[in-house]
């Protein structure tokens, strides 16, 4: 399933990806707490368990590439380099948020990072990604578009329409299906006659493979290979990233649809545990290294919370701004 030998190329490589995954985990755990304190409201979908996907994929993409994500996109935004302060302030609904408090958890945007959201309609990001890739192709840009979506999206017509269009026009788009096995509470095999998502993509003549989404190095290697092929003119690609959501779908989910034992089994092969164990076993990380990375992640989250707490609210007088584009200042 994985590229043989996918692993850390150096101590620095290993520690860097671990640090990125730890900061996402710390951020999400703090979000969980802040939701209980009612600092964060609305819908909140946490990324615990899936960190290797965003971190591995973003490392393999270029700064000029366009990214389209879903409503469970804190990890993607952070891994892409959207400042944690701006993400946390957005969850607080503050003016300093990356969407000026108008988007919230499900609609994080940062055009400077070419991060195009943050889409809360399942599969609705795929057609937009196809269009971004069409622009890249027509403008002869050396960039590609990466589009994240979940396993639930493959049941939507927009998934099929988009894969067909991307393949028909040989567009530089990489579809990244985060298969965490449940569309909210409905298991993939209860909704799909064909559960092999890569096979569906091949039906549209799209190069596709399944990857262990719990292994950050496997993700990074697979995305790197796929992105290189797409950049070289191969047309679109799809990767099915097998992963698992450790927390509930949202904050309103009692998780009646899955066994605790199943969750525990997946947690044992969680991306942070396996990575930590591996780096130690390969002599690339000491316990001190880990503590340092963990402390740095906590400190960054603390600072982001302080920033969000102190950030100003958007004036109500500006309620109707940005319904239409404003002339550049």
């Amino acid at each position: 399933m994985n590229a043989p030998g996918a692993g850390p190329t150096s101590r620095e490589h290993g520690l860097t990806v671990l640090g990125q995954m730890l900061r996402i985990r710390a951020f999400e755990d703090r979000c969980y707490q802040l939701y209980g304190e009612q600092k964060i409201r609305g819908f909140l979908h946490l990324y615990n368990g899936e960190e290797a996907v965003a971190v591995g994929a973003m490392r393999a993409l270029d700064a000029g590439d366009a990214i389209v994500a879903t409503y469970r996109e804190h990890g993607h935004a952070l891994a892409r380099g959207v400042p944690m302060d701006a993400v946390m302030a957005e969850l607080y609904g503050k003016q300093s948020g990356c969407s000026r408090g108008r988007g919230g958890s499900m609609h994080l945007f940062d055009v400077a990072k070419r991060f195009y959201g943050g889409n809360a309609i399942v599969a609705a990001g795929l057609p937009v990604a196809v269009g971004l890739a069409l622009a890249q192709k027509l403008r002869r840009e050396p960039t590609i578009t990466a589009c994240f979506f979940g396993d639930g999206a493959v049941a939507e017509g927009e998934f099929h329409e988009s894969l067909n269009l991307a393949a028909l026009w040989r567009l530089p788009v990489l579809f990244l299906c985060e298969n965490n096995r449940y569309a909210m509470g409905t298991a993939l095999d209860r909704t799909e006659a064909e559960t092999d998502i890569a096979a569906k993509a091949r039906g549209y003549r799209i190069e596709a493979a399944a990857v262990d989404g719990m292994d950050v190095f496997a993700v990074e290697a697979a995305v790197g290979r796929a992105a290189a092929a797409i950049r070289g003119g191969a047309g679109p690609g799809l990767l099915e990233l097998d992963t698992y959501r450790f927390r509930a779908h949202s904050m309103f989910d009692p998780q009646l649809y899955r066994d605790k034992a199943e969750v525990e089994a997946w947690q044992k092969k969680g991306p942070l545990i396996t990575l930590t164990t591996r780096l130690k076993a390969e002599g690339l990380m000491t316990e001190d290294d880990y503590r340092r990375l963990d402390a740095a992640a906590s400190a960054e989250v603390d600072a982001a919370v302080a920033f969000a707490e102190n950030a100003p609210w958007e004036p109500v007088a500006d309620l109707a701004r940005f319904v239409y584009a404003e002339p550049a200042a």
């Binding site: 000026r100 943050g118 889409n119 269009g131 622009a135 403008r139 067909n164 319904v323």
Partner: protein, 347 residues
Amino acid sequence: MIASVRPEPGATPSTRPAAVRQSYRDAVRESLRDALRADPRVFLMGEDVGRYGGSYAVSKGLIEEFGPERIRDTPLSESAFVGAGIGAALGGLRPIVEIMTVNFSLLALDQIMNNAASYCHMSGGQLAVPLVIRLATGAGRQLAAQHSHSLEGWYAHIPGLRIAVPATIDDARFMLAAALACSDPVLLFEHAALYNREGDLTPGLTAVDIDHAAVRRPGRDATVITYGGSLPKCLDAAASLAAEGIDVEVLDLRTLRPLDEAAIVASVRHTSRAVIVDEGWRSGSLAAEVTTRIVEQVFYDLDAPVARVCTAEVPIPYAKHLEDAALPSPARIVDAVRRVVGRDGDG
């Protein structure tokens, strides 16, 4: 810039002078040709816009002139190609997406509403979606319930969209350029019954806006407020009424969002009577919105209750006599105006 998709300069020179009299269809085609020539970022995509020449022959000949990269035939995947238009707009192009008819736009409603209309606001102003969607709309050709919708008023409900409705040759010719110059998603509704109509292009006119209503016929006894495919019916009704000594002002809304409330108010204040003619269904219609604006703004200037001529609240039937009975007609407009001016034969 995408200089590489620019057509060969002078590849297909148009040497004939612009005809003063032309059809609505030709006017729209010329507007497309102008846009494609003026800006290499502009391209057209949709079902059968290329080799077929457009379902209504609007884009006929354009693929020969501009090539398949810029006149792009799509699969029957409304959601995907409208979404692709949104993405291409985000990516720096100026797409024109043709949805063959407004009826099919329902298959792309998610993209239009949840993405195109929402991106600017929910990104805190970071994203602009300079996308133009052209749609044929309207009834009157015995196409029955699934090919006869007038959903402009529906779309006008949605903040973040601009809704423009060319009803005249001038607007058919120049609204597209105004829409493309705008950084927001613009839906251009072309009533299918207008494509064959001919008219004179105003000499010297080179541009129009998509912000203001226009008085198409000045009058003093009553204001008939309309847009799109109903405009010719209103002008016909006004001509009949003039023979009876009733002088009707016809206001063409031109844009349904933003609605030119100032023009509505000014005209109704001038005439003190209003009839709204809207091919949409009456309940929850654009006509209802215009009525409310009048009641809110000029209630004390009214000399009669506002009247509406809308489509009967049925899915459009196939049989001609039933379809005719369902739609606004000059006769129904005449009746409504007579009522509001107190000349309905009863008094």
